[in-house]
Symmetry: C2
Subunit: 184 residues, 2 copies
DNA sequence: GTCTATACACCGATAGAC
DNA sequence: GTCTATCGGTGTATAGAC
């Protein structure tokens, strides 16, 4: 059933996120899901690539429903941004989870998933820019700060992973809303 | 000779940087260097791990000599930071090169190279914090902004790769010196 | 110092039983 | 829908000739 497949995809997420497309071997996938190779091919007709696409779609869906959703609300801009920060802290487990968009833009995954990765990043930036425009910033400044926000979050994920310490990520998220809205 | 080995390592750099530790297969390495598998094992006694360590050491050395060196100069802080930005733009090829510190903090590479990655990031932050302290910032603020600088650079690399557009990286570098020094 | 040849484990993928 | 068994290919690594 569809619900079972969704549960399998959920188990695939950490494997692809941590190891990247090439590093996510069928052995690791099999271990993570508890399913044999053949069972996996029963569910995902196009093999490993199908699994990776399912993971990417699933995470895009989650990201839209949990992180972008508050940005589309009718709350005050500052409240929307604070809500996004809170959700991001959960979504990335205090910065300890990698971002699939970052992982899939390396190696073989880059060629396979570039379109989806690019689209996901653009959508995120656009949602942020819209909130900042509502808050009264000029189109150009809103756009630039929206990009800065994504940059800081992605960079904080790298630093948090590299230093093995969640402080940078949580600090960036905490400071982000005010930083984005303060007058130029 | 040592100079030949250095030349081999130079050819290994893009392979490990783009594909990560696991994705850097001996086929790709062999192709990039023009050497057969056995020749590679003649030069690097501990196999692929030895190659990766050589790449990491080599890049750390380059990074210290080209990016950190201007930070240690006796120029004005703003000039030191501008010099770093210029050098970074070359070093990362306008944001089109991945950072090995980011690549090696994923998958199997994470366990193998965590200590070196952590040390390299710390050294970078400390050099920046020292410049900002000289510029008159408080210890805490200097430290925080130094971290922010590394975060923005790493994040800009991710965005530039994901969007396939060098604008974010070059903009971040261009704005960085003033941003770091402006009064709180 | 480079090569060919080779060892053996693991890769992604499939066939066919149940 | 899951399994075992297996395919051809590729992975890292090594032996030994030149």
């Amino acid at each position: 059933m569809a619900i079972d497949k969704r549960e399998i995809v959920r188990k695939l997420v950490p494997v692809f996120r941590h190891y990247g497309y090439e590093g996510a071997t069928l052995s690791r996938i099999s271990k993570a899901t508890g399913l044999g190779r053949a069972s996996l091919y029963h569910h995902f007709s196009r093999g490993k690539q199908g699994m990776a696409e399912a993971v990417l779609s699933y995470l895009n869906e989650c990201f839209d429903a949990t992180i972008l959703e508050p940005l589309r609300s009718s709350e005050e801009p500052i409240e929307r941004l604070k809500a996004m920060s809170d959700r991001l802290n959960q979504f990335y487990n205090h910065g300890q989870n990698s971002c699939i968009l970052s992982t899939f833009s390396l190696g073989e995954g880059r060629d396979l998933f570039h379109a989806q990765v690019q689209q996901a990043l653009k959508t995120w930036v656009e949602h942020l820019a819209e909130v900042l425009t509502v808050a009264g910033l000029s189109k150009n400044l809103a756009r630039q700060r929206a990009e800065d926000a994504v940059i800081e979050i992605q960079g904080a994920l790298v630093l948090t992973r590299g230093l093995n310490c969640t402080d940078p990520f949580e600090r960036v998220l905490q400071q982000l809303p005010d930083k984005l809205l303060k007058s130029a």
